[in-house]
Protein backbone atom coordinates (compact mmCIF):
# COMPACT_ATOMS: atom_id res chain seq x y z
CA UNK A 1 0.00 0.00 0.00
CA UNK A 2 1.02 3.58 -0.55
CA UNK A 3 1.93 5.93 2.27
CA UNK A 4 2.95 9.55 2.49
CA UNK A 5 5.05 11.08 5.22
CA UNK A 6 5.81 14.71 5.83
CA UNK A 7 7.83 16.33 8.57
CA UNK A 8 8.20 18.09 10.84
CA UNK A 9 4.61 18.10 12.10
CA UNK A 10 5.04 21.44 13.83
CA UNK A 11 7.62 24.14 13.49
CA UNK A 12 8.12 27.53 15.12
CA UNK A 13 10.62 29.72 13.33
CA UNK A 14 11.74 33.34 13.63
CA UNK A 15 11.27 35.77 10.78
CA UNK A 16 14.21 35.64 8.41
CA UNK A 17 15.19 32.08 9.22
CA UNK A 18 15.32 29.32 6.60
CA UNK A 19 12.74 26.59 6.13
CA UNK A 20 12.81 23.02 4.94
CA UNK A 21 9.74 20.78 4.93
CA UNK A 22 10.15 17.29 3.58
CA UNK A 23 7.72 14.84 2.10
CA UNK A 24 8.23 11.29 0.91
CA UNK A 25 5.89 8.82 -0.72
CA UNK A 26 6.25 5.07 -0.49
CA UNK A 27 4.67 2.24 -2.40
CA UNK A 28 4.31 3.91 -5.77
CA UNK A 29 6.54 5.18 -8.53
CA UNK A 30 6.54 8.37 -10.61
CA UNK A 31 3.78 10.06 -8.62
CA UNK A 32 2.63 13.61 -9.15
CA UNK A 33 3.60 15.58 -6.03
CA UNK A 34 2.04 18.71 -4.58
CA UNK A 35 2.54 21.31 -1.87
CA UNK A 36 -0.55 23.12 -0.62
CA UNK A 37 -0.87 25.79 2.04
CA UNK A 38 -3.90 26.30 4.19
CA UNK A 39 -4.37 29.50 6.17
CA UNK A 40 -6.51 29.31 9.32
CA UNK A 41 -10.16 28.74 8.41
CA UNK A 42 -9.43 28.86 4.72
CA UNK A 43 -9.26 26.53 1.76
CA UNK A 44 -6.23 24.93 0.19
CA UNK A 45 -3.96 26.99 -1.99
CA UNK A 46 -1.74 25.11 -4.42
CA UNK A 47 1.86 26.28 -4.15
CA UNK A 48 3.86 23.84 -6.28
CA UNK A 49 3.39 20.64 -8.17
CA UNK A 50 5.77 18.23 -9.86
CA UNK A 51 5.16 15.56 -12.46
CA UNK A 52 8.71 14.21 -12.42
CA UNK A 53 12.20 14.50 -10.94
CA UNK A 54 13.51 18.04 -11.29
CA UNK A 55 10.22 19.28 -12.78
CA UNK A 56 8.60 21.95 -10.62
CA UNK A 57 5.64 24.14 -11.48
CA UNK A 58 4.96 27.16 -9.31
CA UNK A 59 1.44 28.43 -8.89
CA UNK A 60 1.94 31.62 -6.91
CA UNK A 61 4.84 34.06 -6.66
CA UNK A 62 6.35 33.97 -3.20
CA UNK A 63 9.56 33.50 -1.28
CA UNK A 64 9.10 29.73 -1.15
CA UNK A 65 10.67 27.19 -3.48
CA UNK A 66 10.27 23.48 -4.07
CA UNK A 67 12.60 20.74 -5.22
CA UNK A 68 12.24 17.11 -6.17
CA UNK A 69 15.66 15.51 -5.84
CA UNK A 70 14.29 11.96 -6.03
CA UNK A 71 11.22 10.37 -7.57
CA UNK A 72 9.29 10.16 -4.31
CA UNK A 73 10.76 13.07 -2.38
CA UNK A 74 9.41 16.62 -2.42
CA UNK A 75 10.94 19.46 -0.42
CA UNK A 76 9.52 22.89 0.36
CA UNK A 77 12.10 25.53 1.23
CA UNK A 78 12.61 29.15 2.02
CA UNK A 79 15.79 31.11 2.51
CA UNK A 80 14.13 33.78 4.68
CA UNK A 81 10.71 33.27 6.25
CA UNK A 82 8.11 36.02 6.44
CA UNK A 83 5.31 36.33 9.00
CA UNK A 84 2.85 35.68 6.19
CA UNK A 85 4.40 32.25 5.61
CA UNK A 86 2.69 30.94 8.73
CA UNK A 87 0.14 28.27 7.96
CA UNK A 88 -0.61 24.60 7.58
CA UNK A 89 1.38 23.02 4.78
CA UNK A 90 0.15 19.87 3.14
CA UNK A 91 2.02 17.55 0.86
CA UNK A 92 0.01 15.35 -1.46
CA UNK A 93 0.50 12.85 -4.25
CA UNK A 94 -1.54 11.44 -7.08
CA UNK A 95 -0.91 8.68 -9.55
CA UNK A 96 1.27 9.79 -12.41
CA UNK A 97 -0.18 10.54 -15.81
CA UNK A 98 -3.22 12.63 -14.97
CA UNK A 99 -5.13 14.04 -12.05
CA UNK A 100 -7.15 11.70 -9.99
CA UNK A 101 -7.58 11.47 -6.29
CA UNK A 102 -5.04 13.36 -4.20
CA UNK A 103 -3.66 11.59 -1.15
CA UNK A 104 -2.61 14.00 1.56
CA UNK A 105 -0.03 13.84 4.29
CA UNK A 106 -0.84 14.80 7.84
CA UNK A 107 0.41 18.35 7.41
CA UNK A 108 3.08 20.59 8.90
CA UNK A 109 2.04 23.54 10.99
CA UNK A 110 4.45 26.44 10.61
CA UNK A 111 4.39 29.45 12.92
CA UNK A 112 6.66 32.33 12.03
CA UNK A 113 7.28 34.74 14.91
Amino acid sequence: SQTIHQWPATLVQPVGSPLSLECTVEGTSNPNLYWYRQAAGRGLQLLFYSVGIGQISSEVPQNLSASRPQDRQFILSSKKLLLSDSGFYLCAWSRGGSTGELFFGEGSRLTVL
Partner: protein
Protein backbone atom coordinates in the same frame (compact mmCIF):
# COMPACT_ATOMS: atom_id res chain seq x y z
CA UNK B 1 -8.94 33.55 -7.22
CA UNK B 2 -10.60 30.26 -6.50
CA UNK B 3 -12.75 28.75 -9.17
CA UNK B 4 -14.63 26.57 -6.73
CA UNK B 5 -16.72 27.92 -3.89
CA UNK B 6 -19.26 26.86 -1.33
CA UNK B 7 -22.68 28.31 -0.69
CA UNK B 8 -22.46 28.20 3.11
CA UNK B 9 -19.39 28.30 5.33
CA UNK B 10 -21.04 26.45 8.24
CA UNK B 11 -23.70 23.80 8.68
CA UNK B 12 -25.19 22.62 11.95
CA UNK B 13 -27.11 19.36 11.82
CA UNK B 14 -28.87 17.19 14.35
CA UNK B 15 -27.39 13.74 14.85
CA UNK B 16 -29.32 11.26 12.75
CA UNK B 17 -30.52 13.83 10.23
CA UNK B 18 -29.28 14.04 6.66
CA UNK B 19 -26.72 16.70 5.70
CA UNK B 20 -26.43 18.46 2.38
CA UNK B 21 -23.32 20.44 1.52
CA UNK B 22 -23.31 22.51 -1.64
CA UNK B 23 -20.59 23.68 -3.94
CA UNK B 24 -20.53 25.85 -7.05
CA UNK B 25 -17.80 25.70 -9.65
CA UNK B 26 -17.03 28.07 -12.46
CA UNK B 27 -14.96 26.09 -14.97
CA UNK B 28 -17.34 24.37 -17.35
CA UNK B 29 -14.42 22.35 -18.75
CA UNK B 30 -13.78 20.59 -15.43
CA UNK B 31 -14.36 16.88 -15.79
CA UNK B 32 -13.59 15.47 -12.39
CA UNK B 33 -14.77 16.44 -8.92
CA UNK B 34 -13.92 15.24 -5.45
CA UNK B 35 -15.23 15.76 -1.95
CA UNK B 36 -12.75 15.74 0.92
CA UNK B 37 -13.23 15.68 4.68
CA UNK B 38 -10.72 17.38 6.94
CA UNK B 39 -10.66 16.89 10.67
CA UNK B 40 -8.93 19.43 12.86
CA UNK B 41 -5.15 19.38 12.52
CA UNK B 42 -5.15 16.62 9.92
CA UNK B 43 -4.79 16.33 6.19
CA UNK B 44 -7.91 16.07 4.00
CA UNK B 45 -9.28 12.60 3.37
CA UNK B 46 -11.05 11.44 0.25
CA UNK B 47 -14.78 10.87 0.59
CA UNK B 48 -16.14 10.37 -2.91
CA UNK B 49 -15.52 11.49 -6.46
CA UNK B 50 -17.53 11.86 -9.64
CA UNK B 51 -16.69 12.36 -13.29
CA UNK B 52 -18.55 14.71 -15.56
CA UNK B 53 -20.18 11.89 -17.50
CA UNK B 54 -22.23 11.05 -14.40
CA UNK B 55 -24.77 13.04 -12.42
CA UNK B 56 -24.93 10.91 -9.30
CA UNK B 57 -22.68 8.57 -7.40
CA UNK B 58 -23.27 6.80 -4.13
CA UNK B 59 -20.92 5.55 -1.47
CA UNK B 60 -21.35 4.39 2.05
CA UNK B 61 -23.80 6.90 3.60
CA UNK B 62 -22.71 9.54 1.09
CA UNK B 63 -24.06 10.62 -2.28
CA UNK B 64 -22.56 13.16 -4.65
CA UNK B 65 -24.77 14.94 -7.17
CA UNK B 66 -23.43 16.85 -10.15
CA UNK B 67 -25.50 19.34 -12.10
CA UNK B 68 -23.40 20.49 -15.03
CA UNK B 69 -26.09 22.80 -16.34
CA UNK B 70 -25.79 25.11 -13.35
CA UNK B 71 -22.27 24.00 -12.39
CA UNK B 72 -23.32 22.77 -8.99
CA UNK B 73 -22.03 19.92 -6.87
CA UNK B 74 -23.50 18.61 -3.64
CA UNK B 75 -22.59 16.07 -1.00
CA UNK B 76 -25.33 14.35 0.93
CA UNK B 77 -24.54 12.52 4.14
CA UNK B 78 -27.21 10.16 5.42
CA UNK B 79 -27.87 9.70 9.14
CA UNK B 80 -25.19 12.18 10.18
CA UNK B 81 -23.04 11.03 13.07
CA UNK B 82 -20.81 12.94 15.53
CA UNK B 83 -17.78 11.61 13.67
CA UNK B 84 -18.96 13.48 10.59
CA UNK B 85 -18.11 16.80 12.24
CA UNK B 86 -15.33 18.26 10.11
CA UNK B 87 -14.61 20.70 7.31
CA UNK B 88 -15.73 19.50 3.89
CA UNK B 89 -14.08 20.65 0.68
CA UNK B 90 -15.12 20.23 -2.88
CA UNK B 91 -12.40 20.18 -5.51
CA UNK B 92 -12.41 20.25 -9.28
CA UNK B 93 -9.89 19.16 -11.85
CA UNK B 94 -9.32 22.17 -14.05
CA UNK B 95 -6.32 20.79 -15.88
CA UNK B 96 -4.48 17.52 -16.14
CA UNK B 97 -2.49 17.74 -12.94
CA UNK B 98 -4.19 20.13 -10.57
CA UNK B 99 -7.17 20.17 -8.27
CA UNK B 100 -8.69 23.50 -7.22
CA UNK B 101 -10.33 23.55 -3.82
CA UNK B 102 -13.23 25.54 -2.47
CA UNK B 103 -13.07 27.40 0.84
CA UNK B 104 -14.75 24.61 2.82
CA UNK B 105 -17.91 24.10 4.85
CA UNK B 106 -17.64 23.40 8.56
CA UNK B 107 -20.16 20.78 9.61
CA UNK B 108 -21.09 20.54 13.28
CA UNK B 109 -23.21 17.63 14.47
CA UNK B 110 -25.46 18.31 17.46
CA UNK B 111 -26.11 15.42 19.82
Amino acid sequence: GESVGLHLPTLSVQEGDNSIINCAYSNSASDYFIWYKQESGKGPQFIIDIRSNMDKRQGQRVTVLLNKTVKHLSLQIAATQPGDSAVYFCAENDNDYKLSFGAGTTVTVRA
